[in-house]
């Protein structure tokens, strides 16, 4: 008797747990799988809800894991939108068939062609550049020219960069493979790795800190990390950032490597119309302004002012290779870095 009562109670508890957390499918909602972490997207989503009355449900995790979840859930997936912070994962999602094409005059009108899928499977929502950063006073910017030149012996022991596990590095090498080909990129990578001041470790901010502290002279990092450090309330972060200069490489040819954060509507989206509305909102002027001011990212939409901090970095020419190519070359890039000894 006692046992069966216990059994009943535990079954009821289990049922409650399942029932309370069932996927949200009701009208007036949109479900978002986001590789962008909550703190950096929630305020925008709240604005969207305030403007439209549509509730946004959010799960944030790493892009590759979200993609795996999306693939497994198949046609019953509750997700309407997959949002990632790099092009490679958007391409992987498209290749896996979990995104659907979307035609929207608003999206096509505001996002340049290089930053969206030609068929509309995904759209870039913000840009991040990955230029060469140097310690002011220790490196004369005139010595710098291209990423390719960083393989020259004069930079031996002077370069800091994070691990090749990181998708920003994978995309950067992917873009180089797209323009230079695999063989040339590999021989470049060997020279580049030979110039590392230390075993790759830490994140982008760590590279800048190590450079200022004297461990190396040059670091490769995304622009928003430096901009956020400059805006930081912590005096020591700010002091480090102020010693760093930004050099835009490859300006006479392909341009500096840029990546996107972007999103696509899922193939199984139960709230497709709301999903498109959310994408249009995120590509709209207000949201684009927010990206620039709060996250220190470059807007994809032209005509939106960037923050004063970003403007101080100067104008640049961005690599015009379509973002889809970065994803296509991702696996090749990882292997190439393995062979070049970039850990």
């Amino acid at each position: 008797m006692q046992l069966s009562r216990r059994l009943f109670l535990s079954t009821a508890a289990l049922a409650a747990v399942i029932g309370l957390n069932g996927p949200a499918l009701a009208a007036g909602e949109v479900n978002l799988y986001s590789a962008r972490q909550e703190a950096l997207i929630k305020p925008l989503l709240d604005q969207f809800t305030a403007a439209t009355g549509i509730k946004v449900n959010l799960v944030s995790a790493k892009a590759d894991a979200l993609l795996q979840r999306l693939k497994s859930e198949g046609r019953n997936s509750p997700a309407d939108i997959l949002l990632t912070v790099d092009a490679g994962n958007l391409h992987a999602a498209q290749a896996a068939g979990v995104l659907q094409p979307v035609q929207s005059a608003a999206l096509e009108g505001s996002i340049p062609a290089a930053y969206r899928d030609p068929a509309g499977h995904w759209f870039g929502l913000s840009l991040r550049a990955r230029p060469i950063m140097y310690v002011k006073g220790r490196v004369n910017p005139a010595e710098l020219s291209t990423y390719e030149a960083l393989a020259e012996p004069k930079w031996k022991g002077r370069i800091c960069v994070r691990s090749s596990d990181n998708v920003y590095n994978q995309s950067m090498i992917g873009s180089m493979i797209a323009t230079r080909g695999e063989a040339a990129t590999e021989s470049w990578a060997k020279g580049f790795v030979a110039n590392f001041a230390r075993k790759p470790q830490g994140g982008d901010r760590d590279q800048l800190k190590a450079a200022v502290a004297g461990q190396c002279d040059i670091a490769i990092a995304n622009t928003y990390y430096l901009a956020q450090m400059l805006e930081s309330a912590k005096a020591d972060e700010k002091a480090v950032a102020e010693k760093i200069g930004v050099f835009w490489p490859n300006q006479d040819e392909r341009g500096v490597h840029v990546n996107i954060s972007g999103a696509g509507v899922t193939a199984a989206a139960p709230n497709r119309d709301n999903a498109v509305r959310l994408l249009e909102f995120l590509a709209g002027e207000g949201a684009q302004q927010w990206y620039a001011e709060t996250n220190q990212e470059y807007p994809v939409r032209s005509g939106v002012a960037t923050s004063a901090t970003l403007r101080a970095f100067g104008e640049f020419r961005a690599d015009s290779v379509n973002m889809a190519r970065l994803g296509e070359h991702n696996a090749a890039a990882v292997r190439l870095m393995d062979r070049a000894g970039w850990r």
Partner: protein
């Protein structure tokens, strides 16, 4: 008539369904499912990527993982056993404080201690910057140990994992019949020899259990090695799966990782061989502790202080400083939501995991056979598998089940049932059970193993069915072990990150998720408040744990030996 009569004996001869055996095997199979699913990828062809791995990075993965295992193994034993011996059998000022203080590092997730030490000791951190300011050094002028290195990772993991060895060996020392020690003393052994030749060998099963938990946790660690930029099996699995897009090769790497675990388990079995560790005397008396004096007393105090200071106080202090710096950022309403979510998940999982462990451990005791033993072993391997791999192993079968049911219902009744299990807390709790069963199972088995089989026989002779033997005899005797298992799982779930991240439902966050999100955005200081909350939430069960063990010494009021 004749034919019926002829078949009757045959029916009688059929084995009766055995609820214990089938229950254990079923539960074990269910829990082994995620690991088996991932393993099934092994049979997919992956020749070419595997060749690439072999030519470039595989050797590094093997070497680094083995060195890490060896280092952490030595580290946790060197800290855990002496500490347990000192607080259990010696008397010195502060001993009662150290009893629970030594457990505190357990509340500190490995990735968080790695973040804080890197923040402090990195080249650009305050310590080295201060040194450079004082002495006018520049880069390359001086030598300073690199925290983001293999030895650094060994140190970090040893500091937070030694409590497993400490905890289990302390419980073992306390439960040892004093008669054994006194007999050894009458035979002329001193305190050192008594420790080395009597207490230590008797405590060996418990120590090995603690060691294997620590080593499995080491193998599954992703946060620390990834942050330190070390190429190990875990980082390799991720890179191969997601970077190279090859789940088959990743599963094969995971298979190699698992074979390490199998070797560990076999070694342990082999080392025990025929030895049994039941105590033959059930008489206990007050432990006469060795009174330490002079330099020994100072040595004990310093020796016990070091792991507490470096494994807990210093990193917690750093987190506290950061949290105060960013106080307005975290004192938002949803912070308490996070705390509540974390505690709820931890509590539900702890109860479930211990119930499952009891079922399996007792099932094995009742019906020990090769299939049962194997099923239980396989089910508890999840502890050495990185959380993300478990998560994928949970997602695949659950989604398959949901989608198959949905397709069936659509075809038959034109009703869509959608996803029933996927994306729910039930899936998440299941993943936790898979991941942490080993923790509860090892602890419960250790407790059950100390109860002499003659107790079962006596209880059964007196007419109790097995279920009631468990409830009325074993569970009260091993209350300490059960509580230990509950609290260990509780603390582990609080700290768990990767599976939580990927399996959780919409709009559901925990402390670990918040910590990770901020830390992965390189905002260590902002992540400190959530990290500190994990640590604080973990302290309460840790202290409870210590009190239970202190009281668990059977018959501590008897004085006759």
């Amino acid at each position: 008539m004749i034919s019926v009569a002829a078949t009757l004996p045959a029916i009688k001869a059929l084995p009766r369904p055995d609820p214990w055996r089938s229950g254990v095997v079923l539960a074990a199979l269910l829990l082994a499912l995620p690991v088996l699913v991932v393993f099934s990828f092994v049979f997919a062809p992956a020749g070419e990527v595997w060749l690439h791995l072999k030519q470039t990075v595989l050797q590094e993965y093997v070497t680094n993982s083995l060195v890490l295992l060896l280092g952490v193994g030595v580290g946790v034993l060197a800290i855990g056993i002496p500490a347990a011996w000192m607080v259990s059998l010696c008397e010195f000022p502060g001993r009662r404080l150290f009893e629970w203080g030594l457990l505190l590092p357990m509340a500190m997730p490995a990735y968080i201690i790695a973040y804080t030490y890197t923040g402090m000791l990195d080249f650009a951190g305050p310590v080295q910057t201060q040194l450079r300011d004082w002495f006018g050094w520049g880069y390359g002028d001086y030598w300073f140990p690199d925290i983001r290195s293999l030895p650094g990772a060994v140190l970090m993991l040893s500091l937070v994992l030694y409590p497993y060895v400490y905890l289990l060996s302390r419980a073992a020392f306390l439960e040892q019949s004093i008669c054994v020690l006194e007999v050894s003393r009458t035979l002329g052994t001193g305190p050192w020899a008594g420790f080395a030749r009597v207490a230590l060998p008797l405590a060996r099963p418990a120590i090995i259990t603690g060691l294997s938990l620590a080593l499995m946790e080491t193998l599954a660690d992703y946060g620390t090695v990834q942050y330190f930029g070390l190429a190990t099996f875990t980082t390799g699995i991720f890179r191969t799966w997601f970077g190279l897009g090859d789940p088959a090769a990743a599963a094969q790497l995971a298979a190699v990782l698992m074979s390490f675990v199998f070797v560990l388990i076999l070694l342990e079995r082999w080392s025990r061989r025929r030895a049994r560790f039941h105590h033959t005397s059930t008489r206990y008396s007050h432990l006469p502790r060795y009174q330490l004096r002079g330099w020994r007393r100072i040595g004990a105090i310093v020796g016990c202080s070091i792991p507490v200071a470096f494994g807990f106080l210093l990193p917690a202090l750093q987190l506290g400083v950061w949290a105060v710096d960013t106080v307005d950022a975290w004192l938002k309403a949803d912070f308490f939501h996070l705390v509540a979510n974390s505690l709820m998940l931890a509590a539900i999982t702890a109860v479930l995991a211990v119930a499952l462990a009891l079922l399996m451990a007792y099932g094995r005791r009742l019906r020990s056979s090769r299939p049962v033993d194997l099923a239980v072993r396989v089910a508890s391997m999840g502890y050495a598998v990185p959380g993300t791999v478990i998560a994928v192993g949970v997602i695949l079968p659950f989604a398959w089940l949901d989608n198959t049911l949905d397709a069936f219902m659509r075809a038959q009744f034109d009703i869509s049932t959608g996803l029933i299990l996927s994306g729910t807390l039930a899936a998440l709790v299941f993943a936790y059970c898979v991941r942490f069963l080993a923790v509860s199972l090892n602890t419960v088995e250790a407790g059950l193993g100390k109860i002499k089989p003659s107790m079962d026989d006596a209880a059964r002779c007196l007419g109790l069915p097995p279920r009631r033997v468990l409830r009325e005899v074993h569970m009260p005797i091993m209350r300490g072990s059960l509580l230990t298992a509950l609290l260990l799982v509780f603390v582990d779930v609080l700290k768990e990150l990767p599976a939580t991240l990927i399996l959780r439902p919409f709009n559901f966050n925990t402390l670990a998720v918040r910590t990770f999100e901020l830390a992965s955005d390189e905002r260590l200081a902002d992540s400190a408040s959530a990290a500190l909350a994990i640590v604080l939430a973990g302290i309460v069960p840790v202290i409870l744990l210590s009190r239970t063990i202190g009281r668990s010494r059977p018959g501590h009021d008897q004085t006759v030996c």
